[in-house]
Subunit: 285 residues, 2 copies
DNA sequence: TCGAATTTGTGCGTATGTATC
DNA sequence: GGATACATACGCACAAATTCG
């Protein structure tokens, strides 16, 4: 390793930069984008690779240079190469496979249309569930696994459903797949006070799919949904269930459907962050 | 350093684990939560610290153990302590300050109510702009900086506004502050074909705030907004403008307001991901 | 089928700069 | 000014997974 100042090949170079190759690049770039003259090498390399991925130069599935390759190209140590890759992993745009390499992940996003009003998908034919519609919109086949059971509401769910803690609820957990790949998780809760003994008590038993339609068949007119959108890093179960690389981000949606102000269903949805775009169409006044 | 197998104090220990202290903890935990017997030390330490932060044991602003402290507590090398901290930084829940320490960040979330229908905030009095209302809801003072100018629409904006590329638009960039702290960025575009020569041509000139109200005064009835929510890691400008630690995630919202199907404003909003929760209230049918 | 080469994942030790206290 | 702490960087080792001849 040597420091740029010592060579002084004529190029203006940032003090403290330990990579002549990289410094050269960066000095050449300072006129254009953000000023990188003081950027640490590992961030500059990450920025380089990121740009290559986002520009399409490294398409989804393409292999990034190996650590040894980066060491040669940028004249840095293995540590720096590792940190650069770690940054991109943290952003979820690359994925390492031990023994093989580091690969660019798919950055195209599936679109998830919020319920309520999206005119383009209201026609009578076609897929019946909201998820299947979104998948079809992306040219994919939407399927799902589910598991329903009776349970007692805990504090959190009781508050969201407006019932007493311990009240009986139907808990249904879903795993949604697009073209066979898991892409979405959710757990939904319905107060049994609303559905018990009706033909729609078990959400996936009948042919009618979706809360709104199901409730409609038993005379409950769902008229509003509130969605609370947040983001956090995926936990171990989610990484497992969604087949994600470790430490990626997810959208979480907490929704509650109400009929005349009474909650009839609440659910927690988890979507891989880098893979989804959420679309809301809202009427004004 | 020494390897667990060599001491065999009776506890069952994962092969290859280099931290007796940690292995002890983890073996003790395997009955409860996720199986960590094969978790790398740096992830196990990160999980430990994360749990302490999320449980409130380490409140916002609290100092985490120093690298040296972690080395002693968990009997690991500096490298492992660094990687553990790096994981938490990547998640945006801690922030390092050179020369000082690593601190837990505030994990409470501001609530951002989507426009349209939130009954609780429709009364005539109180703050006039949507942002000021959200800030007031969190007990904070909402203020903002802005900069308006005439510009020509680029490809992207033209497509969103349904005008020809190069058509004149009013571009207004905002930086919103809650109690003086920058918390939100946005850039909005309005086709001058709609507003030119009217009293609301310059968005921040008059006393009437907000697209809907402003357009209303010139007889344009805004009736719908579409929001597209995504997430990505913050770029250098955003880190600077929002005073974020490097490499944190942001929500991005791309919204477009329309009046009778004609776009009258489109904007890009950037919100620090870990600091915001987005709430949508949607009518059904 | 097998073994050698490559590559990542995890981990060790250390050094220097510089910000903070 | 000195001690502490993080940020960035160097070097190395070994296991496990993958690839390929």
């Amino acid at each position: 390793m040597y420091v740029c100042q010592r060579i002084r090949i004529g190029a203006e170079v940032a003090p403290g930069c330990h990579s002549p190759t990289l410094c050269g690049r960066l000095v050449g770039l300072t006129g254009g984008a953000a000023d990188m003259s003081n950027t640490p090498a590992y961030l500059a390399i990450a920025a380089d690779l990121r740009a290559a991925i986002l520009s399409g130069e490294l398409p989804a599935g393409a292999k990034l240079p190996s650590e040894s390759g980066l060491m040669r190209q940028y004249e840095v140590s293995r540590t720096v190469a590792k940190w650069a890759i770690a940054v991109l992993k943290g952003e979820g745009i690359v994925e390492g496979r031990a023994g093989s390499g580091v690969y660019a992940r798919d950055t195209t996003r599936l679109v998830r249309h919020a319920p309520g009003r999206d005119v383009r998908f209201r026609s009578g034919d076609g897929p019946t569930s909201p998820f299947a519609r979104d998948a079809a919109g992306a040219g994919q086949q939407g399927t799902w696994e589910h598991d329903s059971r009776h349970e007692k509401a805990d504090e959190r769910i009781a508050a969201r459903l407006g019932v007493e803690p311990g009240a009986p609820v139907m808990r249904t957990s879903y795993r949604f797949l697009a073209d066979g790949e898991p892409t979405q998780l959710s757990v939904s809760y319905e107060p049994l006070a609303v559905t018990e003994g009706t033909p729609v008590e078990w959400p996936e038993d009948g042919s009618v799919k979706g809360v709104v339609a199901r409730m409609d068949t038993i005379g409950v007119r769902v008229d509003e949904v509130v969605e609370r959108v947040s983001l956090r890093s995926a936990n171990a179960e989610e990484v497992e269930a969604l087949n994600l690389p470790a430490r990626t981000f997810v959208h979480t949606i907490e929704w509650t459907y109400t009929a005349g102000g009474t909650p009839v269903e609440t659910a927690d949805i988890v979507l891989p962050g880098g893979r989804y775009e959420l679309v809301y169409r809202l009427p004004i006044d």
